[in-house]
């Protein structure tokens, strides 16, 4: 049995609307402006695939997965694996985006579960998410992401 016990929970408060946060995650033309990647899916419905594509000329696909749950603009759950490891079910972790309005702010909670302790993916995401979420906040509040 593969140990997939590691989890992270990230929270950020953004002065915007839940719809904008949902779009910032799911619409390629928005994600590219603060994430350095686009998240691409044909319809973001459960069962559909999604890809995390670098916004360089080569358009490298870095991550792949499936949409598990989708309830715009409140919740999105996706599976998540390196493209190079996509054939190994043990390499899939799970990302949950919960988006809730709190007064004039939106609370965005990103839970990343089913990670293997000590894995390269765990190391990568624990550096990546704080930067991506800070950059998303900056993008939605000021129109400018942080350099990635």
């Amino acid at each position: 049995m593969t140990d997939k016990s590691a989890s992270f929970v990230y929270v950020t408060y953004i002065r915007t609307t839940p719809e904008k946060v949902f779009e910032a995650i799911t619409r390629p033309e928005m994600a590219r402006r603060y994430w350095g990647h686009e998240n691409v899916s044909k319809d973001w419905r459960p069962g559909s695939g999604w890809q995390h594509i670098r916004t360089d000329e080569a358009r490298t696909v870095d991550l792949v997965g499936e949409v598990i749950e989708s309830d715009p603009p409140k919740r999105l759950v996706i599976s998540w694996a390196n493209e190079s490891q996509k054939d190994d079910p043990d390499q899939y972790s799970r990302v949950t985006f919960d988006i809730e309005p709190q007064g004039d702010l939106v609370k965005l909670t990103v839970a990343h579960d089913d990670l293997q302790p000590g894995s390269g993916m765990l190391n990568g995401i624990s550096k990546g998410w704080p930067h991506v979420l800070s950059s998303m906040k900056s993008f939605l509040e000021t129109g400018q992401g942080l350099g990635l």
Binding site: V11, Y13, P130, S134
Partner: protein
């Protein structure tokens, strides 16, 4: 989120130690954190409350357990706002110095 709250939350060694404990092992219960802290359970609860208000930790209920997760997003924002800016200033100073010295050489 308030930068003030983040700095105040970080201005206590006990709270910084709690963050270190969660960095070593994320997603602990109050009971697990108390085992490794030389502090009364009530104090740990108070410190965790302040850390949560500053958004430096988040909590998730899993069944009957309440798990605590370190949330480094506000730290990253402090880094962007207060540290990276000064690093960049220093680098551009060095860059100007290099330009100046090299111009004088020719």
């Amino acid at each position: 989120m308030d930068d003030d709250k983040v700095f105040k939350a970080l201005a206590d060694p006990g709270r910084r130690m709690l963050l270190d404990r969660l960095c070593e092992r994320n997603g602990q219960t109050l009971g697990q954190l108390c085992e490794t802290m030389d502090m009364k359970r009530q104090s740990v609860t108070q410190h965790l409350g302040l850390l949560e208000q500053a958004n430096l930790i988040s909590t998730v209920r899993r069944g009957r357990q309440k798990l605590h997760f370190i949330n480094p997003v506000p730290l990253y924002e402090v880094y962007e706002r207060w540290i990276r800016k000064f690093e960049e200033g220093r680098l551009s100073l060095l860059h100007d110095l290099k330009q100046e010295l090299e111009r004088n050489k020719t």
